[in-house]
Each structure stands twice: as structure tokens, then as C-alpha cells.
Symmetry: C2
Subunit: 125 residues, 2 copies
Amino acid sequence: MTISEVSEKYGLSQDTLRYYERIGVIPPVKRKAGGVRDYTEEDLGWIELAKCMRSAGLSMEALIQYVNLARQGDETIAARRDLLNDQRKQLMKQYEAIRAAKERLDYKISRYDEAMKTGRLSWDK
Amino acid sequence: MTISEVSEKYGLSQDTLRYYERIGVIPPVKRKAGGVRDYTEEDLGWIELAKCMRSAGLSMEALIQYVNLARQGDETIAARRDLLNDQRKQLMKQYEAIRAAKERLDYKISRYDEAMKTGRLSWDK
DNA sequence: ATAGCACCTGGAGTATACTCCAAGTCAAGA
DNA sequence: TCTTGACTTGGAGTATACTCCAGGTGCTAT
């Protein structure tokens, strides 16, 4: 698969795909004649993982570490599990922060909806 | 309340508090003699709101817009409600992204835990 | 064979959100 | 009075994650 197809498929720019590979968020992609990237199914798996984790807010650094460990083989299994556990913890914190903010927004919005009827706001900012 | 007390109370650096005020994430804080900031309860409310929303991932820009609208008075009620609704939508998307990533992490972690028993990984990366 | 196009690399530039720093002011205690 | 320490401002610097660009290569269709 070419970089333009992958870009299309995952909604990541070609520059971003090359950048991810360059800094190690995904492992190196094999090239065909002329040095052109030819993405395999496995490469796509890494890209999708990176996209999923990035969209949830995981840092590039964590992803790079994970990829590095994965490339070192089976003796890094425990380290990888620990890394994933750490990231999961971070995610749960973020989840809670969003939940709290949403609750607050809901309250404010309900107040604004109420105020829309009377045309003024007497309570808070 | 002094900036050092506010910094302590909310876990935001003094630089961050001044920065927030400078760019308008919170409204201007009244000064006492010598130009020293003296935070009121209302100021604290804005700071707490900013902290809550920022920790959930809302952009500075959105917060600045909200503060600007709030400072313009009651004729911006509808605009503020719309802004909050937009931000709520963003938040829900982020919530879902985290949920999906967490699910994926949980699966991977369970696989790693399993692999810890056998000492090797046969399945995926 | 030559124009066009997709691709390549290395490096510079950008946006966001801080974070740090220099130089100065001011009030209070020794 | 002099020093200390908390505070002030404006501006520069930093980290993260892209994003853009110049200059070059190589396949393909005319």
C-alpha cells in the first residue's frame, strides 16, 4: 500500500506518516524500488494503534518507547505490560477530568437554557 | 488572596496564573497598593473553572472567548450557551476516544498478563 | 525523450501552552 | 537606612507535535 492510500485510509497526512516513522512511533516501513514506502498489513496495524492512542492523548514518547520495546523481542514483555498499565492509569485520570468538566458544562448549559427564557442571568459567570 | 496562595491552592504556578490573566483565560484581577494582585472569591471561581476545563482538554482559545463573552454582559447569553455546547460536543468525542483506547489497552494488557505466564508472545505487537 | 506526477530526504517553520528570566517596585524587619 | 523577599512587567525560551518546503529521484504516458 502506498503512503497516499494509507493517508487516505486513516486520515493522517503523508507528512505525519513519515514523521511517525522517522521518530519511531511506528517501526520502519519496507521500501520498494526507488525507496518508496510499501506499507504491509502489519504496518497498518501499527498506524492504527498509534492513531487510536494519540487520539486518546497518549504521548509520542510513550508510543515510541512501546515500539522500541516491541522491536526488542520477547524479553521486554513485562516492561511493555508495565508501560501499558501506566498509560492506562493516565487515561483513566483523563477520563475522570473529562467527566467532571462535562458535568460542569451540563450544569452551566442548563442554566443558560433557563436564562434564555427570561433573557437574563442572575446567578454566576 | 495573594498569587502565592492561589498558586498553592490550585496547583497552578504563579507564572501560569499571570499568563492566564494576561491572555484573558481569566478576567483581570484587581490590584492592591503597589500593583500586587489581590484575588477575590470571584477570581478564584474563574481560576477553578479554567483549571477544570483545561484539565479536560478545552483550548485556551475557547476559554478566552467564553470570558470575553461573559464580560460583555447579558446580551451574549445565547452565544455563551452555544460555545459551551460546542465544547461539550468536543468533550464527548474525546471521552469516546479515551474509552476506545482504554478498551484496546485492556485487551493488550490482558494478553501480556497471559504471556507473562508462558514467557512468550505469539499473537501480535 | 521528455513532461508530469508521486514519492523521497533533511531541515526549517508553526501553533499551543506554558515556563523562565532580567530588571524593577514596594513593604517590613534588623 | 538597608536588606530581604514577595511581587511586578515585558519579553524570550522551551516542549510537543506536527506541517511545510526545497531540491532531488524515478516510473509512466505521450
